[in-house]
Amino acid sequence: MENKIENKAINITEKNDISSSNNNSNEEESNETIEKFMREALIQAQDAYDACEVPVGCVFVLNNEIIGKGRNRTNETKNGTRHAELEAIDMILKKYSPEVLKECTLYVTVEPCIMCAAALRLMQVKKVYFGCHNERFGGCGSIYHLHNEDYGENRSYEIECGYLREEAIMMLRKFYIRENKNAPVPKKKSNRVLKTEII
């Protein structure tokens, strides 16, 4: 029910390519590694799509190993705050102490929303890779820049975006087209057209 109303919950920006807020990381992951984990995040997003949830997924990686996964569960839980990132953090904290997040890198298909971006700061995650921007709710560049804003204790984190961006966008587009078709009041026709070209 949530998604019908929340129709374009996540707008897709056409911001370009790989951009980094900060590139002084001493142990840069190779492109291959990044893509590998982004693929895992996309598998989570696909899982959300299959369950009729907004298709966003993520994995947390510690020393090259996935220690937490999550995907959107807002409909299932009837709780609009159950985003992929919070699901994964809860999973990790069942096994590890919160300090482990300081050593973790997050791979998420869509830019974290303001809530999650702030949560990642509270958890002091090391670095965040994301696929596409989230114009409606994004807290890492779109609406706010919570990852490097000066507030609270200094707990900013690095972000890099653009990895497997097209796949992340396609999944969202597919989702909203399906939602529109199921919506009781059809939206404008143009919303139903699957745009296959990605700029």
Binding site: M1, E2, I5, T74, T77, K78, N79, G80, T81, L86, I89, D90, L93, S97, P98, C113, I114, M115, C116, A118, A119, L122, M123, R136, F137, G139, I143, Y144, L146, E149, Y151, G152, E153
Partner: protein, 311 residues
Amino acid sequence: MEIKDIEYEPLLPIEFTRPLETIDICIASIEPKKTNDILKILTSKLSLNDMNIGHLKRIKKSEKHDKLLDVIINVSTDTTKTETELKEIFKNNNINEDAIKDFRLCKASKHPAYTKSQFSEWKNVWPMIFKDHDSQHNLKLSDEDIQNIKKWCSVALKKAEEDKQKNPDNKYNNCTVIVNPTSQEALAIETDNRIKANHPLKHSVMECIKTISDIHNGKDHINIETGDSINKKRKLNEEIDSSQPYLCSNYDLFTIKEPCIMCCMALVHSRIGRVFYIEKNDRDGGLESIHQIHIQPELNHHFQVFKITLK
């Protein structure tokens, strides 16, 4: 813990609080007889809305020219150019160019008035239209609201105090209450559980949202006051499932500390109705300290916020 009296301050968008700011508009004086013809042209060629001054009245009685009317032409400061162009248009529409004269600049309010006091001041610069924005942003709380705020703030303070006795080292001590304003029933009363649960995200607001989703999912809910286990699902379903697609639509939230940025955005996602809090949170508050998430124009849901001072 009885609260004797309170003061409140609504945390409003800039539109409600800003002082007068003026812009230059180009006006001219016209014969009252020709008003209809001239207005027809002006509205189609130079609409006030298109120039972002839809809050201004187009015409007023001229103070400078007896028996004439002053009319807004555009927002250009080049009056000579405006005059030439307009007279050209008049010629093409068979209106005598003598019907309009004295193109000049005049001041007017740049922004629409959101409050009556802004309106009564700003309309003296140039007449304005007043659209009442107060229905969405009640600036004044009712006596009933005040009574309820006192009641629920004291519930939150009492619960936080009890928690402090149990966990004296908890620097995050706080309590949040979410209330259905129609029934005046508390649906969730939660303390900050960061330390207890060793989980940095278990803030009292997040815990309350979780409690309410549990109720929606039919899980038994423990009444914190009495310790009774109650299942409110049926009752909630009647009023929520048909009409309220979001978890906290129209609910009131009372909390001691200004919610952090994460919690404020969680409240946007849950569509909270109103938030009342007592203390500013300089570290990462999302309503006044770091950001004003409840009125962030780019977000799709806004909520009312009142800062409460206990007397």
